[in-house]
């Protein structure tokens, strides 16, 4: 069960960069999301859920602001410093409470991030002793599987309907005023091809990431698909959440190459 420690660091940087980007994009809406929330408080299922719904149940404006400030500061800290489990724990607590407080603005991407941030607590334990290594290795594989499970499960759901099989799904989705782009529906052959390609991607990606030769190409295809949904369908944070989590599937050598490209980019610009 090889753990790719270089990839883990890249993954941790990517998810904290996502957090900062998401918070920045939410700034203009903060009043409706968190300060005077539009979302009514959710009923809290089970005792443990008080941990995840504390702000919804007992949140004051001051606590919300504290959670936001801590989330920003610790995300910046985690970007530049080696991850510590306590810092990962506070980030997850703040994030999941803010997410549940604004559940009406939620998305699969936000849920994916909440889950990987939870497992990132164990991932940050490192390999100082055998127990820590078991915890972090388990977390590493759970995050990897969490990502591919999301594709696989949504693919299975789509097979239980009719429109993904008959090729009309993307045409219907893009003409929904909440998504778009409507102009795409004028090209019915293209929307049919996109429908079947998306369905295929959701079953191919969970298999292709296991093999060295197909891993990077399928992740590039997946990232292209997500970027298109960010650009045209109004779900940017979902797209970037998935792309950020892709880093966990890279091998150490592939992560080193990504880092090299990023360094060259930094030097060039």
């Amino acid at each position: 069960m090889n753990v790719q420690w270089t990839s883990i660091r890249l993954f941790q940087k990517a998810i904290h960069l996502w957090l900062l980007g998401f918070l920045f994009s939410a700034l203009g809406t903060a009043e409706w999301l968190w300060v005077y929330p539009v979302s009514p408080p959710l009923p809290v299922p089970g005792r443990l859920s008080w941990v995840t719904h504390f702000l919804s149940a007992n949140g004051s404006e001051g606590l919300v602001q504290l959670a936001l400030v801590m989330l920003v500061l610790l995300s910046i800290y985690n970007l530049f410093r080696p991850m510590r489990w306590w810092s990962a724990l506070v980030v997850w607590l703040c994030y999941i409470n803010l997410m549940n407080l604004a559940w009406m603005a939620g998305s699969g991407g936000q849920q994916l991030m909440a889950n990987v941030l939870f497992w990132n607590i164990l991932l940050s334990l490192g390999r100082e002793n055998a127990l820590r290594e078991i915890a972090s290795t388990s977390a590493f594989w759970i995050i990897r599987i969490q990502l591919i499970l999301a594709y696989f499960v949504t693919g299975i759901y789509k097979l239980t309907g009719t429109s993904w099989l008959d090729g009309t799904a993307v045409g219907i989705a893009v003409t929904d005023g909440a998504f778009g782009p409507e102009w795409l529906a004028r090209f019915s052959v293209i929307t049919m091809l996109i429908t079947w390609s998306v369905l295929a991607l959701q079953f191919i990606l969970p298999v292709a990431v296991w093999f060295r030769r197909t891993r990077v190409p399928i992740l590039i295809i997946g990232a292209t698909f997500h970027l298109a949904t960010a650009l045209f369908m109004g779900i940017p944070e979902m797209a970037f959440a998935f792309i950020a989590v892709y880093a966990i599937w890279l091998s150490d050598a592939e992560s080193a190459r990504v880092k090299g490209v990023m360094t060259m980019w930094r030097i060039a610009f």
Binding site: V38, A102, I172, A178, P236
Partner: protein, 151 residues
């Protein structure tokens, strides 16, 4: 040890997230107990099918000025307006004539600034439904006035 932990978690996650018809009830409740409190997730965007009717809540300022409640304030505001609209649409489909009070409060909070200026506002649900899936641009528009003044 790692294989057991990861395998067990994956199994519970699959049972929790897969469509109910594929999972026996007893396993479902076990997965709900273990996954829901901290690791809730659902992967059903546009699945099993994209919704045949798009929907939006609009605020009526006057006969000529009807606006969506998100007021073009960005993607998260738009998402909240969409969640409210979907919830109200589903309530109306079930035969409720009044939206739930918490949804009315959410709607009013979205347009709080306008309401402070103009007083009690009226809202409507605007739906655009496909007739033929192969011609999704041709949609029938359906407007339902919402009774919210008393709430």
């Amino acid at each position: 040890m790692v294989i057991i932990v990861v395998g067990l978690h994956t199994l519970l996650l699959l049972v929790y997230t897969l469509p109910v018809q594929f999972v026996p009830g007893v396993f479902r409740s076990l997965s709900i107990t273990s996954i829901r409190p901290l690791l809730h997730q659902s992967w059903q965007l546009f699945a099993p099918d994209p919704p045949p009717c798009s929907c939006a809540i609009e605020v009526i300022l006057n006969e000529n000025d009807i606006r969506p409640i998100d007021q073009d304030r960005g993607y998260l505001q738009k998402r909240m307006a969409q969640t409210i609209a979907r919830s109200i649409q589903s309530e109306l489909e079930q035969g409720d004539s009044l939206p739930r009070p918490e949804m009315v409060r959410s709607m009013k909070r979205m347009v709080g600034d306008i309401e402070r200026e103009l007083g009690d506002l009226e809202f409507q649900l605007r739906e655009e439904c496909i007739v033929e899936p192969r011609a999704p641009t041709e949609r029938i528009v359906r407007i339902t006035k919402l009774k919210t003044a008393a709430q």
